[in-house]
């Protein structure tokens, strides 16, 4: 069996890429205006959102159509804890991630026991819609208006403090947290657990036969992806300073899928590239009122039809054309 590029090889290369991304990310406030810094912050958050989705889809072959519910859970948990309960930021973020993990654990426990494949995907969509309706009808969460004017509180650790409401400091905080989350996701991919997930994706029956507890592993990775997705969502609340039920809408669940398909689901960095590319498209088409969605849709259609391996698939073919291929990536099958 050929290994996919997803397997935990190239650790050093991935570490260098992460460091390079972090360096570029930290330079952004020195190069771009405040409006673009805001978009850059969203790109980091979306990159973690996309990578969390691809930990499910690309690594273990579990396709969820409802990841927005965890994203919204993280965002709303942070909003409630920081604004309404006045908690410090770090415990709020941790609680948000735990909330997402717990929600994913509960939903995964029900959905993964009862279904798999496309049935599981539809079930996650149904659960996400349920969460969306609950959020939109809960007075405590601001109903359809959501919660606005959210604070960017002070970050303090021991005697050391960092005022995140001033200047671009919250952007740096997003970069640091996102880098840590990306490192965590990359580390998980390379562990024995990550390799077992890839075995499950390639052939669940054979994996089961080899002694891998398929159901438990799927539940664990679904829970983990829920927690990291909620961690990404938790950064949105203080960054955008507003949370609305749209965060849990099904269209939000399509975002990480688009990032992944655009960048290349067979590659760890695929969703990151996809998030950057899609944000660039949104930015460039922002003044094409009424046409921006059309342009974005056509572009995605083009990529899916012409570049089935995503952008990294094309890049990979270019770089390996002149030399014997060491690795032939395999597309995950849901």
């Amino acid at each position: 069996m050929q290994a996919s590029l997803f397997v935990g090889s190239h650790l050093r290369r991935d570490l260098l890429i992460l460091l390079a991304l972090a360096a570029v990310g930290l330079l952004v406030p020195h190069l771009l205006n405040r409006g673009l810094i805001f978009i850059a912050g969203m790109v980091w958050i979306n990159a973690v959102f996309g990578l969390s989705f691809n930990l499910l889809f690309g690594t273990s072959g579990v396709l969820s159509f409802g990841q927005a519910m965890f994203y919204a859970a993280g965002a709303y948990a942070t909003a409630v804890f920081t604004q309404q309960l006045g908690w410090p930021l770090v415990p709020s973020l941790l609680i948000a991630a735990i909330a997402g993990g717990l929600l994913a654990g509960c939903i995964g426990f029900v959905a993964l026991r009862r279904s798999e494949g496309v049935y599981f995907s539809i079930l996650t969509l149904a659960f996400a819609e349920l969460v969306h309706l609950l959020v939109a009808n809960t007075g405590f969460l601001g109903k359809n208006d959501g919660l606005s004017a959210l604070p960017r509180p002070r970050f303090s650790l021991g005697g050391w403090g960092w005022d995140l409401s001033r200047g671009d400091t919250f952007y740096y905080f997003i970069v640091l947290v996102s880098v840590a989350l990306i490192a965590l996701l990359r580390w998980v991919t390379g562990t024995g657990f990550g390799r077992a997930l890839q075995a499950i994706r390639q052939d669940p029956e054979r994996a089961e036969f080899l002694g891998i507890p398929v159901q438990r592993h799927r539940w664990m990775v679904f829970t983990l992806a829920g927690a990291t997705t909620a961690a990404a969502g938790s950064l949105v609340a203080p960054w955008a300073q507003i949370v609305t039920p749209e965060l849990a809408h099904w269209s939000q669940s399509t975002n990480p899928i688009l990032y992944t398909l655009l960048g290349g689901s067979a590659y760890f960095w695929g969703p990151v590239l996809g998030a950057i590319a899609l944000s660039t498209v949104f930015y460039v088409t922002r003044t094409l009122v009424g046409l921006s969605d059309l342009v974005t849709g056509l572009l995605l259609l083009l990529v899916v039809l012409a570049l089935p391996g995503g952008m990294l698939g094309v890049l990979s073919r270019w770089t390996t054309r002149s030399r014997p291929a060491h690795h032939k990536p395999q597309e995950p099958r849901p």
Binding site: N33, G35, N144, I242, T244, D293
Partner: protein
């Protein structure tokens, strides 16, 4: 990774970085040069595009007129237009982008949720925002910010004027309900209207009105049949509608099939002006509606006459609706404040907008210094179906003096209202 591969990555990376930095719109400079840019953030897609397009046209006409007259302090004016989709998150992203590009003066915003969401970012990033129709009273009360202005109708003035009119015209109709979208604007307008009913009915008719629980309509849906059925079960004589824009047209169309509006002796609509009438034509249920500006009633005002002529030339529409007039008024208010202070600096513009008296298509208005709310007369019309080209006609027009219905300023404090 072999060396050749690394070189390739460096090469492609450098090319990508170079192309990214050369993208148009990456404004590295913060200060504005060239024309004076004003941000226009309003819905240009989705169900509220109906209203947003009026805002855009009104603002563009004001800018054209000002530019033809020599600009503001000799500088030409240009609009930077962004679609907020009536969505707070999209509006915030647009506002941050424009503020980041050095544009500090903004107008637009017809959604209450959008305006409330923009308050912190305008304060943090030192911007000014003029709403062209958002009805939340919170922006003048508990969420008051010096950076936000409402150059048009106040929700308390509008809702109380409508309640007073109902008490004057329909003293026998004392059993009221509402068709209220379950969001900030809907709840605000209902609360104020109820407050007005509870004040004016006893004062003018000696009767205490009976207020039924309003029907709360879900937000962001296209099917109101459940809510309509729920309304059919109520025995009310008067109804107050606060759905607006494309949502209102959908709701009125669906209600027609059930004969809902025909059950009420009077229908009072908060703010749709002629939108529902234009959508339904002769199938329109007769109703009162609030107008930011009714062109016919402002004939003879030179500014209004010119606005109507310019609007017709630009859009082939002879009857601009109120949101266009509010956008027009907001641009002229900014222009006058800049000229008064001889500066586009946020601090100076805010200082000169406060207490500003300026000419508009509805006559002279004053921005109350305490809470940034315009003191403006409320215009109300009664529309009914008619065998005309438009399919409807204005049967009655009523102007209510703004000062007589506007509640006193109380920035920073929650508005206290009577409840049923």
């Amino acid at each position: 990774m072999n060396p050749a591969n690394r070189r390739d990555i460096l090469k492609y990376g450098a090319a990508a970085a170079a192309s990214t930095l050369s993208l148009p719109g990456l404004n590295l400079a913060h200060a504005q040069a060239g024309p004076l840019k004003i941000g226009l953030i309003t819905p240009l897609s989705g169900p509220q595009e109906f209203i947003g397009s009026y805002v855009k046209n009104g603002a563009e006409i004001a800018v054209d007129q000002i530019n033809k007259a020599g600009g503001i302090q000799g500088r030409q004016v240009a609009l930077e237009i962004r679609d907020d989709k009536a969505n707070p998150a999209a509006a915030l992203a647009a506002a941050r982008e424009l503020l980041g590009a050095g544009i500090n003066l903004h107008t637009g915003g017809i959604s209450s949720a959008v305006v409330l969401a923009l308050i912190p970012v305008m304060q943090q990033e030192n911007g000014v925002f003029m709403t062209c129709g958002a009805g939340t009273e919170k922006m003048n009360h508990e969420n008051y910010s010096p950076n936000l202005f409402r150059p048009g109708d106040a929700p308390d003035a509008r809702g109380r004027a409508q309640a007073r009119l109902m008490a004057e015209k329909y003293p026998q109709i004392t059993r009221w309900t509402g068709l209220i979208p379950d969001h900030e604007y809907g709840r605000t307008m209902w609360s104020i209207f109820v407050d007005g009913l509870l004040e004016f009915y006893p004062a003018l008719t000696g009767k205490k009105p009976e207020i039924l629980d309003p029907i709360l309509l879900p937000y962001g849906v296209s099917d109101y049949r459940n809510s309509i059925t729920q309304a059919l079960r109520q025995q009310a004589d008067g109804v107050y509608n606060a759905t607006y824009g494309g949502d209102a047209i959908t709701m009125f169309q669906q209600a027609r099939g059930f004969g809902l509006m025909q059950r009420y002796k009077v229908v009072c609509d908060a703010a749709n002006e002629f939108l529902v009438a234009r959508g339904m034509k002769q199938q329109l249920p007769p109703h009162w509606t609030g107008m930011h500006y009714y062109a016919e009633a402002n004939k003879g005002n030179a500014m209004s006459d010119r606005f109507v002529a310019d609007y017709l030339a630009k859009t082939k529409d002879p009857e601009p609706l109120g949101w266009a007039a509010e956008a027009h008024a907001s641009i002229y208010a900014l222009a006058k404040a800049i000229e008064k202070g001889k500066s586009t600096d946020t601090k100076s513009v805010i200082a000169n907008l406060k207490g500003l008296t300026w000419d508009t298509v509805t006559g002279s208005r004053t921005l109350r210094a305490e809470d940034n709310q315009a003191i403006k007369d409320v215009e109300l019309v009664y529309i009914e179906p008619a065998a005309t080209d438009k399919g409807y006609r204005v049967a009655q027009y009523q102007k209510v003096e703004g000062k007589s219905v506007l509640l006193p300023a109380s920035p920073g404090k929650k508005l206290v209202l009577r409840t049923a």
